[in-house]
């Protein structure tokens, strides 16, 4: 018996060790350290239900252990016939009524929180952003302010932001674990999710509904800045001139190639017409390339030359003529110089 318990203990220790080593996960990605209204509401219920359920677990495990210690078949008594008990009404009533009470304890706060998080009646008094999920990137449209961008979503700290979400192709799901639980992004209807981030910071966002080969690479960021910085960012982003020729000669050539090689047909800068691919306004300040790579020029050239090897099944592959390394290099230079504002991910404090 001791040997068996030892195995349980080893298992438990290994599990706890793993937890301690990895902590509660990566900051600003994990749901276990909530920093937003939605994630906090979820966390409260996670804690409540875990506590109640741990009690139930003990109520099962303790009798089980006692059975294993006390009621094993004894040597020499293999013929022993125990008393044949049919049941016990009192006991059975107890283990019916107590679970009902426990369920009520969990159900009431669940229902309250469910109605609270679904209440979008005050949406018109707050910031509204239209979100479109695409195979494998996110489009953000600040309709009221005439600003469009992709992949990096800027919002002010401490304010409610209403996201009106729809999918352009298949079903996606918008999830920023540290700020809010997820809501599906369906192709047939607009779903509204409100989020409120308590602290400035750069938060990981993920697609949580299986959407194809690059589902796991559909990351995005939510960049939470102060309300003043947010206003500044909106103003700067609303002032972009897509026709502005960069001062740098290489970048200027890159801009010509960007137009010539039909990049512009899909990718808008500012309010230029291309709407098929991600809007590249302010690309030089993005936290990532294609949602997953570090924003270096080398990575950008790799991406332009062979997007399929980085994001399988993406819709950019094969949509433009072959480029030489030199041409890709110039386009990358142009894109990385697209910096429209001083409000950057660094402004978010970390």
């Amino acid at each position: 018996m001791i040997g068996r318990m030892g195995k349980f203990r080893a298992l438990f220790l290994l599990g706890s060790l793993a937890l301690i080593l990895s902590g509660c996960g990566k900051e600003n990605l994990t749901a276990l350290v909530p920093k937003g209204y939605g994630s906090e509401a979820s966390m409260n219920l996670i804690i409540l239900t875990t506590v109640v359920m741990s009690f139930v677990f003990l109520a099962v495990i303790i009798p089980l252990v006692i059975v294993l210690l006390r009621f094993r078949e004894k040597k020499g008594q293999e013929d022993f016939i125990p008393k044949q008990v049919e049941g016990n009404q009192t006991l059975e009533t107890v283990w019916t009524v107590i679970p009902i009470i426990l369920v009520i304890i969990m159900a009431v706060p669940t229902v309250i929180a469910t109605f609270d998080l679904a209440d979008t009646s005050e949406a018109s008094e707050h910031i509204n952003i239209n979100v479109t999920g695409n195979q494998y990137w996110w489009h953000f449209d600040y309709e009221d302010d005439g600003v469009q961008t992709s992949q990096d979503l800027y919002i002010p700290a401490g304010e409610r932001v209403y996201l009106n979400m729809i999918a352009a192709d298949v079903t996606h799901s918008f999830w920023v674990p540290t700020i809010s639980g997820k809501l599906d992004v369906n192709p047939e209807n607009v779903n509204t999710l409100y989020i409120e981030a308590y602290e400035e910071g750069v938060y990981w966002g993920k697609c949580a509904e299986f959407c194809g080969p690059s589902h796991s690479l559909m990351d995005f960021k939510v960049i939470v800045v102060s309300p003043e910085e947010y206003e500044q960012w909106l103003a700067d982003m609303g002032n972009v001139n897509p026709d502005e020729v960069p001062g740098d000669a290489v970048a200027a050539e890159g801009k010509e190639l960007f137009e010539e090689k039909s990049c512009m047909g899909c990718h808008a800068i500012g309010d230029s017409p291309g709407q098929v691919g991600p809007n590249l306004t302010n690309f030089g300040n993005r936290t990532t390339i294609a949602g997953i790579l570090d924003p270096t020029k080398e990575n950008l050239v790799d991406w332009i030359m062979d997007p399929e090897s980085i994001k399988p099944g993406n819709l950019m592959t094969g949509k433009y003529p072959d480029l030489s390394d030199d041409e890709a290099d110039k386009i990358a230079e142009y894109l990385l110089q697209l910096k429209e504002t001083d409000v950057t991910p660094e402004s978010a404090g970390n």
Partner: protein, 618 residues
Amino acid sequence: MSLAATQKKGFGAFLWDYLTTVDHKKIAHLYLAGGGFFFLLGGIEAVIIRIQLIKPENDFISAGLYNEMITMHGTTMIFLAAMPILLGLMNAAMPLQIGARDVAFPFLNSLGFWLFMFGGILLNLSWFLDGAPDAGWTSYAALAMDSPGHGVDFYVAGLQIAGAGTLMGGINFLVTVVTMRAPGMTYMRMPLFTWATFITSVLILFAFPALTINLFLLMFDRMFGTAFFDVSLGGNTIIWQHLFWIFGHPEVYILILPLFGLFSDVFSTFSRKRLFGYTAMVFATMLIAFLGFMVWAHHMFTVGLGPVANSIFAVATMAIAVPTGIKIFNWLATMWGGSVKINAAMLWALGFIPSFTIGGMTGVMLGSAVADFQYHDTYFVVAHFHYVIVGGTVFGIFCGLHYWWPLLFGKILNETMGKLTFWTFFIGFHLTFFIQHFLGLMGMPRRYWVFLENQGLDLGNLISTIGAFFMSFAVIVFLINIVHTAVKGEKAPADPWDGRTLEWATESSPPPYYNFKQLPLTRGLDPLWIEKTEGKGHMTPAEPLGDVHMPNGSFLPFLMSLGFFVAGLGFIYQTDEKLWYIALYGGMAFALLMMIIRSVKDDHGYYIKKEEFEREAE
């Protein structure tokens, strides 16, 4: 056929026997072999998935292949492994438990198996033809419509054919329990496994049609140009989700309730005690089955159904914990005060209690809609349903195999290897899946081909993969055990476990093909135990020795299923090439012809004469 004819046979005769058999015990063998094969296939797919996730940004397999792996792992394990193995166990034990000589419709029983087998083969042919389906086992419509190639078409056709077989199995078991119980075997004297089979069959009867309809809608959309799910033409993909889960949630109970029944029998047998609270156990099973139809939308909390729907489904979901809790405490009370014998079968049953309890706990936690906004579609959910399906269904299947191996094959599985299998599997299972609860909450969504570096997910995934190797080892030991037992195992007595129920009251292990010469008279719950403790030690016959009516074997079920299989290929490929309509109509016509032959040809079965029994007894 006479008794003597069933003796020594060549391999050809052996094969022909299994291709044409309508004997529920042999069909059980077929289900276990077929389901076991697909279980190994699904297991290999699982190991490939875990190897891909052993480290961040791994490139062991490509994104496309990974999606095929997860889709086929889920689909195979649910439809082609767990379900058929359960149908196999039901076939093996249920007719005996009610004292019957076979199921109500032996021909239908065989047809159900062959439809399942041909459906499973059709689905897996996709690996060699156009690539496997890659839209997940849930095959959500928007992605399924978007999926290129024929992968999803194979999913549709394969599951449609296999699903028809399962539906037949369910109807057959329902009728069997209603009409074939031996004298004295009233409903409230049936063993819990029989009760669970009965209630599960009701679930199959009401749940599978939703899947059938859904698969038809998807088939029409993908192959014949309709637009049920095509949003640009006014379709709606949420319909798929509703229909899928109206089937899918009861399906979870189809997978677990039979094992609840089995565990009730096993705890009772190996504690040498009557099941505690029998009546409560029966009604708890019914209540779980009923509530199982009321909770499907908890799979859809994040779809945006609104707070009213979410609240109703949240509370209904939590309510299922109550009857489930009743069952767990009744099992504990059954063992309490008993003389608990721990062998391999009992180990699986004991291991089930903490494992399944954790799965149930996380189930309630998932039922809390707002908490689910974080859990949904993450590894937390992956952990939860593996705790339920592995910790419940797979543990139960292993338990059932060890318990009923004598009934199935006349030998007892090696105990030492059985215990080794249990401990390595048990440890591997918890290593693999416990940490996944945390991975999910740490921000790892499910169905991720890779997880990125520097996101705090490395260690958890590594531990999880190591656990998967332990489970693989356990399964290999089990396979060795099967071979070892077949070659070296000793012949088991008719009642090796000091059993309580009628499947142990036949004259030998495995039982003769007619099961009972004379149907037994049941005098109460645990009829064999009653006779052993208060009676003559064996069942009293409820009828005089007489002629026994037996069904004839038939090759028609195999041929009918073959026809549907060919038609399935025709459906899939007619979109490329009109010539395939020949296969489509040809296959259908062939199946129809076989049905007509079945209908017009008189087949009254045969009788084992009373004199033959008497001659044999001399």
